[in-house]
Amino acid sequence: MSKKNVYDCIVVGGGHNGLVNAAYLARSGRKVLVLEKRHLVGGAAVSEEIYPGFTYSVCSYVVSLLRPQIIRDLELARHGLEVLPMDCSFTPMLDGNYLARWSDAEKTRREIARHSKRDAEVYGEFSKEMVKISKFVKPILEMTPPRANEIHLSEMKDMHGMKTRFQGLGADQKTQLLKIMTMSASEYLDQWFETEVLKATMAVSGIIGTFLGVKSPSTAYVLLHHYMGEIDGAFRSWGLVKGGMGTVSNSIAAAAREHGAEIRTSTPVDQFIIKKGEAVGVALENGDEIYAKVISSGLDPYRTFIGLAEPEHFDDSFLDQVKRYKFRGSSGKVNLALDACPDFTCFPGQGMHLQGDIAIAPSMDYLETAYDEAKYGDFSKRPYLNIVIPSLSDPTVAPPGKHVMSIFVQYAPYFLKEGTWPEKREAFGDAVIDTLAQYAPNIKDIILHRQVLTPWDIEQEFGMTQGNIFHGELSLEQLFFLRPVPGWAQYRTPIKNLYLCSSGAHPGGGVMGAPGYNAAQMILKDWKGK
């Protein structure tokens, strides 16, 4: 057992942020090792053949905010990443009507006009406003948050830049920005639109992954994220990934390897090795010890600070803050192997409307009622569903004529008032299928295989505390200079040479890569000082 520093950096956890972090460190010439517990890399961004012949994007299922710079820097396209644009957002209704928004703006306008002429007019204006405001927010995703209690020169510059950009906005956009940071998605959209199904379809982006309802203050902010979604620099694009979400992770891993990083799967880490307040390596579950100059954690804050380190290395107030950091996962996932394509009563046939995402979100009341059920500790009997059928645009994921369906489900609270998730898992799955069957009655007859993931399963399988898909709620008190805990939002931790590069750091969750990238910049910056 050598005590020599064999590696410059060990990244714990081979999720997409860990891989991005490793790739950038390797790219700058560091010797990097990534350690992943599971048999494959990707964390929540994985493709797995759970049922023979069918490839599921088991956990996350679409790419939207992956930073374009990362795609360019790491040449992900060359490493196999291919994003398939989604042409439609389809919301079926029970009264035989539906709403379909297309990538073609004029087609969308005509479709919305079917519901409301006024909304059709406003829609374009709304999108323009959102894009303007997102341009203010976007650079914030790439900056290291300030410390808040102290102001250093470099932070002054950043803050001044923010102020200048804010002042560059028109009075209207300033007002809208302030409102959007604090209002509920429902109230915010009410100010623009009158069509329930349109508002509901748009509002859901404000609640995904969060234990809040569309009427809860502060949910409007996440609406902006939709408008920041970029594919190859184009605003407002969502996409499926050819071969499933695992392709994202595999392409980043390939880039990292090309730059010399070493990636070991099926290698669970037992704990950090900390000497005199300084991280010097990791101890594996098999007893091996590996040493490095810097350790970077791609795990969530709870698993990082409570899971892999002894409490004696932190002061009480820090640990207290980590324990108070809110996870409480609120969503589940149902993955289906289908014998045929589902048929929606309100829009029959296998048309283009199924090639994008399908939302079961017919009205604001529907969504809010789903939240009301969950907030007292039960899963929603009529949940919000976000469905994609990747096999329609990517034939590699299912046998010919057959399909895979990915259903994101909300709400499924991690903490149940009665019973346990293993007891309730199938009932939860049934509620999802029953809900969908109201809109697409043939669904029950075409299911070949069903995988139900509750927040408890997500925690067990993917190591995300309390099943939170974003490594902690994206609520105001856990964003920016407060993420993960006040005073420690700069990717550094109270343990010297230990960094946090996961979604638990600014700017948070989603398959975005920003925390991994930002943390790498911070590690390299600190390195220079050595």
Partner: protein, 526 residues
Amino acid sequence: MAEKYDVAIIGAGHNGLIAAYYLAKAGKKVVVFEKKENVGGRCVTEEITEGFRSSVCLDDISLFSKKVFQDLGLKNKGISAATDPLAISLLPGKALIQWRSPQKFAQEIATFSEKDAKEYPKYHEFMDKVAKNLGIACAKTPPDILNLPHSDLVDLGKYWLKLRKMGKRDMLEFLRAASMSARDFLDEWFESDALKGLLAAKALMGNALGPYSPGTAATLFLQHILSYHSASLGHPQGGMGKLSEALEQAGQTYKVEVRKENEVQEILIEEGVVKGVLLQDGTEIHSQVVASSLDPKTTFLKLCSPPKVSLKLRNLVKNVKSQGVSTKINLALKELPHIALVQGAEKEALLSARYFIAPSLEYLEKAFDATKYGRYSENPVIQFILPSFIDPSLAPKNKHVLSITAQCTPFRLREGSWAEHQDKFADIVLEKLGVFLPNLKDIIEHRQVLSPSDLEANFSLNEGHIYHLDHTMDQLFLMRPIPGSAQYRTPLDNLYLCGAGTHPAGMVNGLAGHNAAQKILKDWKG
């Protein structure tokens, strides 16, 4: 020739009267127009039935600013010091008594949770620290976030230094907590449902918000800050109307002219500049400045003729959240009600307190759920006081009035009207109260029920909101009532707002009137 004044104030509510006082004291010629025959706005005493008088709308002055109280010399005007206990929460078979002293309160909490009893003094200390350092922000014009002039940046810098004074840990803790939900914040401190329910109920009163809503921890801070800097008042002898009369008298010293039964019909605007007001009887009054103590919706949408206000401003104002959720019920009682849980040596003191039925955060949240769907709650949050116990002048000998405020009753019902529903709702409230006041039903001589719809009609409150606007994150501090117009000055030149719909808050504290007057005087100099 039209009459000329320096300042015309619309509405003789407490904020209007306070603004008038400060302006007149600084030498301005001030007139206040009041639609009704009495001053006070929401703070009035009216006869509910022969011989029984009650503070028919608001009945709480515990947050009234100490500074305003002293400036206006209200000390010997028959307004009693705060009661002790401050509040009592009625629970099945038990009561939680909030004594003024945090230590004594902690002893009561101990019967619910030993752990919470230990934590409470620390909580109180933290909240006091915030109040001590940030209190100044409530007595000043908030920064103009849209333009950020240099002076406002300096103010923001000063607030930041004040925050730093709290120490790194407490400062960051406050910044984190400010946007949290009351539930998440209180859950971090306490385990007792009763304690958390009571603290949240006090802060959330009047708002269309449940304690699970993000941003509601801010209402706890707001309430605590105002309370910390309050004059610690109890009950005005003669009801809330007495306070208003005292404010009117204070103004008279400096020749404030209050014209009652003089309704303003329109604010006169010429090319974006406010010139005065037009009264209902056709009289035109000219003034350098008009200050409206009415809510922003009434001010901009009803009193300004539409072509004079930009569409943008009208839309912003239209969208502020002002749906009232409170119903006021005033009862005339034949005798002293029996409160089952209130006994023993301290009974006298206990009967002077403010009572709450708000047993847990979940209860509060469930009550709020109904309002989201345009229904009233079958399990409402209730607070009540027995003012005649401290002030016998309000009722005939040995008889009493009970002043009840109940939530959550949304102004906009999806089905039916308040005229149809208000008696049903009042029955629900009395049923709930009957659990704790067993003889209540038998001793009611008369009941007055004021639904949000009645509150709108009787007190010129848009949508019956007792605080004009909700205390939500997007409607507090530099965003109250709307971003860029939180400086009391409005986009219409020479028109100011000075009412509850402006910073700091709607709960009777007088600071909006105070701050607006300071702002008007400052701008005057410029």
